[in-house]
Amino acid sequence: MIAQADDTLTIYERSKAGRRAFVVPALDVPPRSIDELLPAALRRAEPARLPEVAEPEIVRHYNRLSKRNFDLDTGFYPLGSCTMKHNPKLHERIAALPGHARMHPLQDPSAAQGALELMWRLQEALGEIAGLPHVSLQPSAGSQGELAGVLLTRAYHEDRGQHRTKVLTPDTAHGTNPATVTMGGYDVVKVVSDAHGNVDLDDLRAKADEDVACLMLTNPSTLGLFETGIEEIERIVHGVGATLYYDGANLNAIMGISRPGDMGFDIVHFNLHKSFTQPHGGGGPGAGPVAVSERIEPYLPRPQVVRRESSTNGKEPFYDLDYDRPKSIGRLRGFQGNYGVFVRSYAYIRSLGAPGLRDASETAVLNANYLLARLRREGVMEYLPAAYDRLCMHEFVLSGEPMRRQLQVKTLDLAKRLLDHGVHPPTVYFPLIVEEALMVEPTETETKETLDHFAEIVAEILREAREDPSVAQHAPYTTPVRRLDEARAARRPVVRQAMNGN
C-alpha cells in the first residue's frame, strides 16, 4: 500500500520555489528606482521566507487542517465557563455586509451614523441587561474588560484622594482575576469559600478594610452556584468604600432574571463571545464591554459613543464619538472596539428580545440541572459526585477524586476518553478548590437527547474503567494524534518552523 500523504506537513514544507498564488496588479505609474525611493541601507538583505504555494494547495492545506479540529457546529461542547452556545449563521451574513465590514474606523461620524447608532443601541441594551446605566464597548475581550474594571476602580479612588492597595478575589476566581489585579497595580488578597461553595462571609469581613479597593466576584460563581450571601457581601464591600466588580463570565444564567446592578455591583464586564454568541474562532476574537454605575461613569474609556439630540424639532439625533472626557482612564486599545462582534451580539439581542433572553437563561439552567440529575445515578455518582449537593445554575462542578482513588482514573483520563466518543470534554481541574474538578456547562442550545447521550457516555466510560482502567488511562485512540508530550514542548520549545538557508 502507498503510504498516506503526511497530514502534519506545514505550509512551509509544502512550499516550492517558483510557485505562487498572488499576481500583483499592474504597475500603472511611471516607475522609479527602488534605491531612490527606499535607500538600500534601510532595506532588508534577504526576503522573508514565506511559503511559495499556488491557490489550490493553500485551500487544500487549510481545509485539511480544519478537519483536524473539533468544533461546536459538529458536536457537544460542554466546556464549563465558556458558554459554548450555538453561533447563529445569520450573524456572519450581516457582519459581512460591506456597510459594516468595509467601514474604516476613522470615517467621519457623519458618514458612520449606522455603525455608531448600532453601537449606541447595543450599549443601551447591555446597560438594561446589567441594570447599570453607562456602557463602554471598547474592551477587546473579557480579560481587557476586567482590566478596565480595575483601572476604573483606581481612577474612582484616586479622584477621592484615596490610595488603596488591595483587591479581593475569591479562591474560586478565574485566573484572569488575580492576573488582572496585578496588571492593574494592586495586590491580590484571596477570600476563601465556605462549606456550601459561597464566599465565606467571616473571612470577607476579616479582610475587608480601608486598603481594599475592590472585590471581584463572579455570580453565579465558577462553581455554578448563586452567591446566596450577595446582599451581605455588598454591604461589607461598600461599607469599607470599595467597589464591587462583576465578572460576567457566568451572566448566561441570569439574563432577564436578576441584574448585577440590582445586586449592588458597580462595574460589570460582559463576554460577548459567551452569552452573546460571537463565535469563539478557536481562541478569539471576542469583546468585553463594561457597564458601570453613575459614580463610575466619569472614568469610562475614551472615546465614548453618545447620542446628541437635535435642537431642531423633528431632526434625527446625531450619533457621535465623545473625546471630551477629562476624568477618563483613557484608551485601552485603538479605535472603537471590536465592531464586528458588536454587530453579531446586537443581532442576537434583537433576534431573542426580552422574552428570548430570559428563555435562554432559564433553559441553560434547566439543561444544567437536568444533566446533573442524570449524572446522579448509580455507577456514576459514587465516582463523580457533585462538588456541592445543591441545585446549580447554568453549570455544575463534579469531583473526580473518588474516581481517581477507586479506579485510578483521573479526571484528565475521563476527559481524554470522552474524545473517543465524539464530544468535547468539560473544563478540567478548575475551579482549583475542587479536587479533580470537572466543570460542565451544557448551554441552552443543546437538546435533551444530547444531554441524555452525554450522561450515557459518562456512565459507559466509568463502567469500562471498572473493568479495565487502562483504557481510559491511555485514551484517546481515535483522534488525529494521541496524548502529546507537553513537557517536551515546554523544555525545548520549538515555536516556529525551522528552515534551511534561503
Binding site: R44, G286, H474
Partner: protein
C-alpha cells in the same frame, strides 16, 4: 422556546420531573426575591431572521464604506484587498466555532495554524519567537511595555511622538497603574529625536514606519537605547517589513503591531489581531498563547499550547499577563494572507505600493499651497500640509466621492492643516489622479475663500 433552543413543553416536564422540582422558577430559588427582576427587560420582543437581516442591512446602508467612495484613509488600518480564499477558509465551522485549543488531540488544525502564523511573524520581524497573537495593535504596545517593566524594573517609558496616538494613549492608561512615567521623544523633520536617556528608562518605543509615514532609522535608535540599558520596542506595520531592514537586524527587542492589513477586513476598527514577537531572552516573559511542536505517545508529530506556566490560568497573580484568548481566527486570516502573497508576492505588493505612494506624493505636492510634511522615505503612507483648512478641504473632496485621508489636527495640533494619505494596492493611478484633481480644486477654493493668492 426560541429558534435557537429545543426544549419542548413535554421535554421540560420530563426534565423537571427528573430534577425533582415542579417548575423552572424553583431552579432559581437561591436568588433572593428582592434581587429578582419582576418585569421584562425593556428590550422589546424578538424578531424573525428576515426582520433582523433587514434592520442590519438598513443600518449598514447609513454608513459610507470604502466601497462607497475612493478612500485614502489609513492611520493604522488599511483598505487592502482580502483574497476570496480567506473568506472561504475562515468561515469553515471547524475554524470559526471551537474554543481555545485546550484539548490538543482534537485541535491540531488550529494549533498547527498558530505555529505557521508564528513562523510567518518571525520571518517578517526577524525575531525568533512570536506568540499566537494578542488583541490588536495599540494594546500590544502596552503589553510590550509590561514585559519591559518586569525585565528591568525601571520607571519610565520614552515613546516617540511618531508612535500612533492611540498606542501612546493606551500606553499611558496602563503605565499610570504601574506607577510609571511616560515621556515623549519629539519628531524632527519627520523622524524621532531621542533625548538623552537616563538609567531610569525601561524602554524606548518607536513605530516603523511612523504615524506620519516616515521610515525611521531603527538601528541608531536601538543603539542609543541599548547604550542606556533600555529595551527597544518597535510597533511595526507588517507589510512594509517585507522590504525594510528587519527590526531584529536593527537590534529591536520586542516587535508588536496591528495585523489588520494582513487579510483582515476593516470592520470599523475590529476585530483584527495584534502581533507580538521577541528575542529568545524574553520568551518566558511574553504574554498570550504560544503554540509549540512536540510528539504524541506514538511518536507522531503534533502541536500544543506551550510555555503555559507564564499564563494566568496557571500562575494567576504571578502571570506575565492577564490575556487568555488571542485573536486566533484573525491571525489565521493573517497567515493565509501571507501564504497567498508568498515570498516573492509580498515584495512585489509592497514595491507596487512604494511606487504608487511616491507618485501620489509627487502629484499632491505639485498642488499650489500643498507641501510635504517631511521628506523622509515612505512606503504606503505620507503626510502633507495643505496650506488651507483641512476640515473644509476634506468636506469638499467628500462631496465629490473622494475621502482624501486622515486630518492630523486632533493628534498633532502643530500640524493643524496636516493630512495623512494612505495608498494601498486598491488605489490605482486613476484614483490617485482623481484625488489630485479633487484635492487641488478643494485647496484652491479654500485658499481663495480666505484670500490667499495662488
Amino acid at each position: 422556546m426560541t429558534r435557537y433552543t429545543s426544549a419542548t413543553d413535554a421535554d421540560r416536564e420530563e426534565m423537571l420531573a427528573t430534577i425533582g422540582v415542579s417548575s423552572v422558577q424553583e431552579l432559581f430559588a437561591d436568588i433572593p426575591n428582592r434581587l429578582r427582576l419582576n418585569r421584562q427587560l425593556a428590550l422589546g420582543d424578538g424578531l424573525s431572521e428576515p426582520e433582523v437581516f433587514e434592520e442590519f442591512r438598513a443600518l449598514a446602508a447609513r454608513n459610507v464604506s470604502s466601497d462607497d467612495e475612493i478612500s485614502f484613509l489609513g492611520a493604522g488600518m488599511y483598505d487592502h484587498y482580502v483574497p476570496a480564499l480567506i473568506d472561504s477558509i475562515i468561515m469553515r465551522s471547524e475554524f470559526l466555532t471551537p474554543y481555545t485549543p485546550y484539548q490538543p488531540e482534537i485541535s491540531q488544525g488550529g494549533l498547527q495554524a498558530m505555529f505557521e502564523y508564528q513562523t510567518a511573524i518571525s520571518e517578517l520581524t526577524g525575531l525568533p519567537v512570536s506568540n499566537a497573537s494578542v488583541y490588536e495593535g495599540p494594546s500590544a504596545v502596552a503589553a510590550a511595555g509590561y514585559v519591559a517593566k518586569h525585565t528591568n524594573n525601571r520607571r519610565r517609558f520614552v515613546v516617540s511622538r511618531g508612535v500612533h496616538p492611540h498606542s501612546r494613549e493606551t500606553l499611558r492608561t496602563h503605565a499610570h497603574a504601574w506607577e510609571m512615567e511616560v515621556s515623549e521623544a519629539p519628531l524632527d523633520a519627520g523622524a524621532t529625536q531621542l533625548p538623552e536617556l537616563s538609567d531610569e528608562v525601561s524602554a524606548v518605543i518607536v513605530q516603523q514606519p511612523n504615524f506620519l509615514g516616515a521610515v525611521e532609522d531603527l538601528a541608531s535608535i536601538a543603539q542609543s537605547a541599548h547604550a542606556a540599558g533600555a529595551l527597544v520596542i518597535a510597533a511595526c506595520d507588517p507589510l512594509p517589513l517585507a522590504l525594510l531592514k528587519t527590526p531584529a537586524e536593527c537590534g529591536v527587542d520586542i516587535v508588536v503591531g496591528e495585523g489588520q492589513s494582513l487579510g483582515n477586513r476593516l470592520d470599523f476598527g475590529g476585530p483584527s489581531f495584534g502581533f507580538f514577537a521577541a528575542t529568545e531572552a524574553l520568551m518566558r516573559r511574553m504574554p498570550g498563547r504560544i503554540a509549540g511542536e512536540t510528539v504524541d505517545v506514538d511518536g507522531k508529530r503534533g502541536f500544543v499550547l506551550t510555555l503555559q506556566t507564564r499564563e494566568q490560568h496557571i500562575r494567576r497573580e504571578k502571570a506575565t499577563s492577564n490575556i487568555c484568548t488571542a485573536q486566533a481566527l484573525n491571525a489565521l486570516a493573517g497567515v493565509i494572507y501571507l501564504s497567498w502573497l508568498g515570498r516573492r508576492g509580498v515584495v512585489e505588493l509592497v514595491e507596487l505600493m512604494l511606487q504608487r505612494t511616491a507618485y501620489a506624493r509627487e502629484r499632491l505636492t505639485a498642488i499650489a499651497g500643498v507641501t510635504q510634511l517631511h521628506e523622509k522615505p515612505v512606503v504606503r503612507e505620507f503626510a502633507v500640509e495643505l496650506g488651507a483648512p483641512v476640515g473644509a478641504v476634506i468636506a469638499r473632496c467628500r462631496e465629490q466621492g473622494v475621502n482624501p485621508g486622515y486630518p492630523l489636527w486632533r493628534d498633532y495640533p502643530e500640524h493643524a492643516d496636516g493630512l495623512l494619505v494612505a495608498i494601498t494596492e486598491r488605489r490605482t493611478k486613476a484614483d490617485i489622479d482623481r484625488l489630485a484633481d479633487v484635492l487641488g480644486g478643494a485647496v484652491s477654493a479654500e485658499r481663495e475663500a480666505v484670500g490667499v493668492s495662488t
